[in-house]
Symmetry: C2
Subunit: 328 residues, 2 copies
């Protein structure tokens, strides 16, 4: 019922469980015939080693815990894919937990992962996330991705402020004079930084802001709200691509030409951005690589114990038709 164990195999093969263990693990201090016999029996019994027991004695789980705020849309699919590909290349397992809504929940989950993982990859973009640092498990290496956690933490994050600045500079260079911003949720640290970057380009003036929640839906509503303004904007910076997609749809429905009447810039460069109509100008953060590099950094910590500080990735402007030069 509970599956074959090493003991079963050893008995059947007439050897000690030590020898069985060695054969299974491919060590060379086993007689060839023993090795063969054991392997055969193992296959016949469909033996699979008990990972828990193994990790108990080796004090290594070969598993990385992954903590995500919400598994939603292409952005997170890409992040996980990057992590997964890098983990697979190293024979590591992934204990994944998505959709925690706040730091408290993240904490509960992390403690539930205790003893099951060798390290933690945490993405917790909540503004309050720096509290997390205080409760992170001792002795468990952690790398944060796009989060706001104590600066002493090893981390890989995005220059969101700089991205906001770049978006504004680009729109102005394309001839836009009245810019507006559809921001992400205010409790999201990244959203806050992008908005700060955007606003930093206006001294004194207060450009129109609409607070969305990173969904297409909210981008759609945001664009409608901006269109209703007395002074219509001629350039919109959406804090992520999902909202930009919703935004493009609302503009189309309103008969607004993009980019001639209103230019649009997103953030992230999710795979679908090339396939919107018109194709979306955006700030590429290399989502897949964010995940991949996060995992690699964690592995480096695990192995070398290196004490490098964080990496900050500068988003790269990808110009597509949604913002390409305009008449005015």
């Amino acid at each position: 019922m509970a599956g074959a164990t090493l003991k079963d195999i050893a008995r059947e093969a007439n050897v000690s469980i030590a020898s069985a263990s060695r054969a299974i693990n491919g060590l060379d201090n086993v007689a060839d015939d023993v090795k063969q016999r054991v392997l055969e029996i193992a296959k016949r019994l469909r033996y699979v080693p008990h990972g828990g027991a193994r990790s108990l004695v080796m004090s290594r789980t070969n598993t990385i815990g992954v903590l995500l705020p919400d598994i939603y849309g292409e952005f997170f699919a890409e992040i996980i894919r990057g992590i997964d590909v890098a983990a697979r290349a190293r024979g590591l397992h992934l204990l994944v937990s998505g959709s925690h809504g706040n730091p408290d929940e993240a904490l509960r989950i992390m403690s539930a992962m205790g003893g099951r993982v060798d390290g933690l990859l945490v993405m917790s973009p909540f503004v309050e996330s720096h509290d997390l640092a205080a409760v992170l498990p001792l002795n468990l290496p952690v790398v944060t991705i796009a989060s706001r956690i104590g600066a002493d933490q090893r981390s890989i994050s995005v220059d969101n402020f700089g991205g906001g600045v770049t978006a504004v500079a680009h729109l102005r260079a394309q001839g836009c004079r009245r810019l507006a911003h559809i921001s992400g949720p205010s409790r999201n640290f990244e959203a806050q930084e992008r908005r700060r970057g955007f606003l930093s380009m206006f001294d004194g003036a207060t450009p129109p802001l609409y607070e969305g929640d990173f969904t297409e839906e909210s981008g759609y509503r945001g664009a409608k709200a901006l269109l209703a303004l007395n002074e219509r904007p001629d350039g919109i910076f959406a804090a992520n691509d999902m909202m930009a997609v919703g935004c493009l749809l609302a503009l189309r429905e309103a008969g607004v030409n993009v980019p001639e009447d209103i230019a649009v810039v997103g953030f992230d460069d999710i795979p679908i951005a090339r396939f919107t109509s018109p194709p979306l100008t955006t700030l590429r953060v290399g989502i897949f690589d964010l995940g991949r590099r996060g995992l690699e950094m964690l592995v480096a910590t695990l192995e070398g114990g290196e004490t490098g500080e964080g990496i900050i990735v500068a988003p790269e402007l990808v110009m597509r038709d949604s913002s390409r030069h305009k008449s005015g």
Copy 2:
């Protein structure tokens, strides 16, 4: 270094490790003061129980292994989200492994998960996947999602054939006379079934087929290929929404009106389908629910040992503007 253990706590609290264990687990056969003392010390030491040891002795891991073919795009993000939400509700962990490219790799991964999980949720849509059934770990409950594995397997899948039939019937009802199909990859079982359903509506005649690979890119190329035909189709059934998105873009670029000139139907109803232009008519399979119900079915097997056969979900036509009634 290795983190505090029950022994450390017991020593510090001047109790046996048995009592410490009871206090930690909230059993009631512990004196209140002992419980309090232990809990305090545990918090101070940032104690987290060793999951491996616990699962070893309890022969229960509270973890579900999830095996996906590829973590890519919104479809898989939604599946995982459904699984994750359902798992969280039951206090279960998820050991996730994405991007296996074939049944062999799936097998390797499954054996690597051995002893770490109580059950397996497998999605392996490869045509050759029925081989998997022969090597699935003994005694490890498995539920398959949208896969082609032995019929005795508990499973939740989609009526892909019926979906193909529905798509054709719908397009014809909208007035389309020359239908074409952009199919998924031929080694994908679901893609095959959708194509079979499509073709079943043409006796004798051979409508145009273009084989894509489920990416936007291939949908884009497929539409271009179909537009180059002598006899242009006036209705296209794309085997998934991603390809339908690429298809819509190609049609727009070619100045083709949708649905007036060519109507388009997708498959899946990914979240973004409502936000394409025009909004995409598609066959909704309830992706999130596929994941959620798969996990629930697995849990039922785990708990009750019930022996129900599989569930087959009928996709539901969601009519949007990309196929709404046409002149001709």
